[in-house]
Symmetry: C2
Subunit: 289 residues, 2 copies
């Protein structure tokens, strides 16, 4: 049995075929232009491959409410052409198969919870830290949505005492995304993070904000694990710094089996940046079961 | 059919009888001393009343994991005598009926979600702002627990620019509870909140912190409603101030049906401070169904 997987990102569309064990059989990447140009290319890729169903994890905001008339749409994005794009409906009609649908970071969490480091867990949080910052939350084995898609990247931050940066978010300035996304590092320090690998102050400040996000996740959600993925997290020195800050910030208040060992509680994504597309395979599998 | 309800607080134990519609038939209050003194008094009250089951919402930390060996215990409280108190087991054995169990603020939320302003809703957040600050979270109709009980009162705060107060929380100083609980108002201003009703600055600062809590609840949980109860919330002027701050902080970023009308989204508790005990009636009903 072959399943289709579509990780619909703002810069590229990753299309893949997978099997029932989440194994990626083949994979291509198509640049994200306008829907009129890009969606037919995606259809061309999947056509004739005899997929049983498709799983889509899309950049947002998306409508993930199955009872909404715009379920499966990319909704109010500023990205030219993509606002109110019925990506799920388009694919289902063009390919004649059912499609599962979630937001991008929900897909990544689903990948980790099905095939990766959160396998078997019921409650988990996955942060992506890259061009933007977002989080997927799994509660009792289901990706949490609420009324609108949660926007964890926009919690307000306590400002690091040595940080004068005003923040990258056009809506909130110094929210989590504003202070910790990849572009905020570049704007704050004058060059991109990958050229700042050995500048300890950069990562001390970055870790301070990401630790606050982990503290909020801990006291609000109380998950079994917090996974951090995305481009910024390739700076591996961040992990011990985040754990150190989390320990100081929680100050031994929360006594749960999960937070006892922070090395196992706050961890990098485990699927070599395939967590998103593997989550799409799971969405496809669930769409027919 | 008569159900027993026990709202087990740190200063008093409210015991009540209720019917299947959540109606309180009678109610007494017993001071919270040591378990050896207080628990037998509670049993005496319920004995002979032919209750079908009991619902307990208790001060914490409590163990709410049905698979844990200490399920139904008050666990690591500093309150003399109450640490590791198996309150659920004690009551079940003494009264010979099954007991439902949750933490106190979960009980209040359950009351509002069953009989009050959140009736029929699936996703809701209830903050209690009094001696401490805590929150109950309902997701897909169930009170959320996670690994340990969430401790929403301990999210870190951005400090109000005119506030020099260091915070009341012995663990975190300036967390939500540290900056917004009743005792923090008294310590900051030199007298209790009820003597500061007309001091606008007091409530402007209080609203700034409670608004941050509402923003975090909104972007992390995306609920249909946020209910604020507890003693501090009897200062009714807080509600418009909180909504104003939330509007500014969200800055039109979140576009959900829930946040469109903040007057209906951020609301006072609706059950005349009976939400906790009415939630216990629901816990009792659920314990036999």
């Amino acid at each position: 049995m072959v399943y289709g997987a579509l990780e619909a990102g703002g810069t590229k569309m990753v299309c893949a075929l997978g099997d029932e064990n989440g194994k990626i059989l083949e994979q291509v990447s198509i640049p994200t232009e306008t829907p009129g140009v890009t969606l037919p290319k995606i259809v061309d890729y999947f056509k004739g491959k005899e997929i049983k169903s498709l799983g889509i994890a899309a950049f947002g905001p998306v409508d993930v409410d199955p009872e909404s008339p715009t379920y499966g749409y990319i909704t109010s994005t500023p990205k030219p052409g993509w606002a109110d794009c019925n990506i799920k409906g388009y694919m289902e009609e063009a390919l004649g198969v059912p499609a599962g649908f979630d937001h991008d970071v929900g897909g990544s969490l689903l990948g980790e919870a099905t095939y990766g480091c959160a396998k078997g867990m019921k409650t988990a949080v996955y942060f992506t830290v890259g061009t933007g910052v977002g989080a997927g939350i799994m509660i009792d084995g289901h990706i949490h949505h609420g009324v609108a898609c949660p926007e964890f990247g926009h919690i307000l931050m306590r400002i690091h005492p040595e940080d004068n940066y005003k923040g990258f978010c056009v809506y909130h300035g110094s929210c989590l995304e504003g202070m910790a996304c990849g572009p905020s590092i570049e704007e704050r320090w004058g060059k991109p993070g990958k050229e700042l690998k050995d500048n300890d102050k950069v990562w001390e400040i970055e870790a301070y904000y990401l630790a606050q996000a982990c503290v909020t996740a801990t006291v609000v959600i109380s998950p079994e694990i917090i996974i951090l993925g995305g481009g910024v997290m390739h700076q591996e020195s961040l992990f011990p710094l985040i754990r150190k800050n989390v320990k100081e910030m929680l100050n031994d208040y929360v006594r749960s089996s999960a937070t006892k060992d922070l090395d196992k509680y706050i961890v990098p994504a485990s699927l070599n940046d395939d967590q998103g597309i593997m989550g799409c395979i799971k969405l496809a599998i669930d769409a027919v079961n």
